[in-house]
């Protein structure tokens, strides 16, 4: 079968790592937006204040990690000293997670500022573009991240570290050229211990590629557990399931007012923004909202909490805002509000009333889950609604998403459909064909053999003649083989094959 999408012939598993270097610092730098100014994150918890991290601008001025803060300030008088911010890191972590959710739903929070994504639900051709888009989105939010793609979580991590070391932003460690790409990477990229690195240097092994070329037995016998673990990582044999992040934390927004809010308009302004953001996040997971939790904190220490339930799961921003604003209107504001928290309770968007008259997906969340699992099972390029493409190439088709709504079937117009249904053989069935007067008279092949009793053709077919090396042409014949059935024969550059059969 010819495919417009790349025929891989096997399941494509892939992972991406989104890494935000110096995450604790970036959480602060992003918040105050001092990208160009020298900033250092210091730890005041010790007897002597030390630099935990610094940005590129500070490094240019000679500020280094582990340095005493006073020394750093002496080297760079304009250095802005910041303390770690737990709330800032929490918010930054959510932003990373949210951006990653726009790529694929399977995400693991491997460590602070490092996410591992399961790309098996996406077609391989889209990985790089999605990686660039995600990185761009995070850059707009003030984050400097690198993206690494590889066939296992470990290789994706190595790719991300390689991207960072080489000053790039995205690195794809291709399956086919993995060893060649690893040849260009120093041992430090694999985050191995100094002792192992030193031993390998003594062996004359300077790159990860050179190490991966060693035999497994040699590594196991001479380098022990650490060596074999590295070897398995580099050869793509070390696989592990991801611990998927709980996305529920994304469905919550919180805001501490810098001033006391006494009027409902200001409160609703913030609520409206929350609803817009949260709706987008819930939609990306293929779910809807069944209830909204509202929590108001007053300056007098009192709190007000309410769960506003919806009659059926939905994701209409207007309706959701009306629900919350309608409730806020009824509240008696005894004291000024100092903080507001809004949380969406997600649910499956099950069959609703419109299904009485329309037709389509009854349970979109379940459908997304099914698609995800099917893609993981058979490969992302083997699941979809099948559509014709504008090509003369026999059997060419494209896969598109299944429509969520089903329109009424159109009345068939035009000439009636004729003939049996063609089915192609998966593999090429080469045939030996006896020809008389330019017409096949007997066929011998592993799937169909016999004397040709009826024949029509040839139908000449050709394409891509404008592209040297990719042009093709073929002659098709429909044949009836005695007592065997109806088949399609194809002759292409003197070679014959049984393309399929009519059923």
């Amino acid at each position: 079968m010819y495919r417009v999408v790349k025929e891989t012939g096997q399941k494509v598993s892939g992972y991406a790592v989104i890494w935000c270097p110096d995450f604790r610092l970036q959480a602060v730098v992003r918040r105050v937006n001092w990208r160009e100014e020298p900033v250092a994150l210091v730890d005041d918890g010790q007897r002597q204040s030390l630099v935990l991290a610094r940005n590129v601008a500070a490094a240019r001025e000679g500020v280094d990690v582990g340095m005493k803060t006073v020394q750093a300030l002496a080297r760079c008088s304009g250095l802005r000293v910041e303390r770690p911010s737990a709330s800032g890191e929490l918010a930054a972590g959510r932003m990373l997670l949210e951006a990653a959710l726009g790529w694929v739903p399977g995400i693991e929070e491997t460590e602070a500022g490092l996410l591992t994504l399961d790309l098996s639900t996406q077609v391989e051709e889209e990985w790089l573009e999605s990686g660039r888009r995600t990185r761009g989105r995070l850059y707009d939010l003030g984050f400097e991240v690198v993206v690494g793609i590889g066939e296992t979580p470990s290789l994706a991590r190595i790719a991300a570290l390689a991207a960072w070391q080489r000053g790039g932003s995205l690195w794809h460690l291709h399956r086919e050229s993995r060893l060649e790409m690893l040849d260009g990477l120093p041992l430090t990229v694999a985050e191995t211990g100094e002792e192992l690195n030193e031993r390998l240097r003594l062996w004359g092994i300077e790159t990860l590629g050179a190490f991966a070329r060693l035999s497994r037995e040699a590594v196991a016998s001479r380098l022990g557990e650490e060596g074999i673990e590295l070897w398995l990582r580099l050869t793509g044999r070390l696989r592990r399931p991801l611990k998927l992040a709980r996305l529920e934390q994304l469905f919550e927004e919180h805001h501490d007012f810098d001033y006391e809010v006494c009027d409902r308009e200001s409160l609703l302004f913030v609520v409206n923004r929350f609803i817009e953001n949260l709706s987008v996040r819930v939609e990306r997971t293929g779910r809807a909202v069944i209830a909204v939790h509202l929590l108001l904190s007053y300056v007098d220490g009192a709190c007000y909490a309410k769960r506003l339930a919806l009659p059926e799961p939905l994701l209409d921003e207007t309706v959701l805002f009306r629900l919350v604003s309608g409730h806020v209107e009824t509240l008696e504001m005894k004291a000024a509000v100092e903080a507001v928290r809004l949380r969406f309770e997600p649910s499956d968007p099950v069959a609703s009333q419109r299904q009485l008259f329309g037709a389509g997906l009854r349970n979109r969340f379940q459908f997304e889950e099914t698609m995800k699992r099917l893609r993981r099972l058979v490969g992302a390029d083997r699941v979809g609604a099948i559509r014709e493409v504008d090509s003369h190439q026999p059997g060419a088709f494209q896969l598109v998403p299944l429509p969520a709504e089903i329109e009424e079937a159109k009345e068939h117009s035009g000439p009636p459909v004729t003939g049996l249904v063609l089915r192609r053989y998966a593999a090429r069935i080469r045939a030996r064909v006896w020809v008389r007067d330019g017409r096949p008279v007997q066929v011998d092949s592993p799937r169909a053999s016999g004397v040709v009793v009826n024949i029509s053709g040839p139908w000449r077919n050709e394409g891509v003649w404008w592209h040297r090396g990719r042009e093709w042409e073929r002659n098709e014949w429909d044949v009836e083989l005695m007592k065997r059935g109806l088949f399609r024969l194809v002759e292409c550059q003197g070679e014959w094959e049984v393309e399929g059969y009519y059923e």
Binding site: V378, R387, E388, V421
Partner: protein, 255 residues
Amino acid sequence: MQNTGKVTPEKVVALQALRQQLGQELGQKITSGAELLEEQEGRESRWASGREDWDKRLGGGWARGQLTELVAPEVSSGSGLVMSQLLAQARRERRYAMLLDVGQGFSLETLPADDLETLLWVGCGSAKEAIEALDVASRDENFFLFLIDLRDSDPSDWRSVRASQWYRVLGQLRQRESVAILFARQAVTSVAKQRLELKQQFSWESLEGEREVLKASVQLERSQVQLVERERGRLRGMHGMGGAHGKSDEVLAVG
């Protein structure tokens, strides 16, 4: 009469006479197990095929909540026509269908584009993969019709499917009342409640014939695949069954 364990015509005649006699004595109609089964089948929910002639032969339509096997032993026996009718009917009723295509030989060029509007194609590398995919998909309430195409699959391939997996799928089909049709060259699993066989072979002229006319000549017949062997195999814990031909289902039911 000596009991040899074999169903002979004499035994059948004697059985019928005994039933008649019992019925007269008790003043009630005596129903055999086979008749009860048939009645139950008739009561089961059916999905109309969209063709009256087929529905008559299918006992009201395709069985819902069951797996139906469609055995097409020869090439050009019309199984493609049956698939085309199933897709067209699902489209007409605005239902989602899923094709688990083992071998990935599905060709859309001989099918009306509109009939493919609600079809989700899943290309599978093996029968085992297809059944795993069916196991996943049959839990989804969005899909109503499942077509499993094993026509180009090797028997050794589908024999590797565990019996428990077939039964799990069947349980899910029952729960959702969805329709599942398995296309194969021979009998595949004892889980299939209904097995139909396409015995004819379409002639050369059918390549030019109007498809609706061709559909009318499709001979959907109950398969004569031996149930005894299948059941024995299942009890022995075999993983799927080959198509041993012999006594019909109906004969066994009487015996």
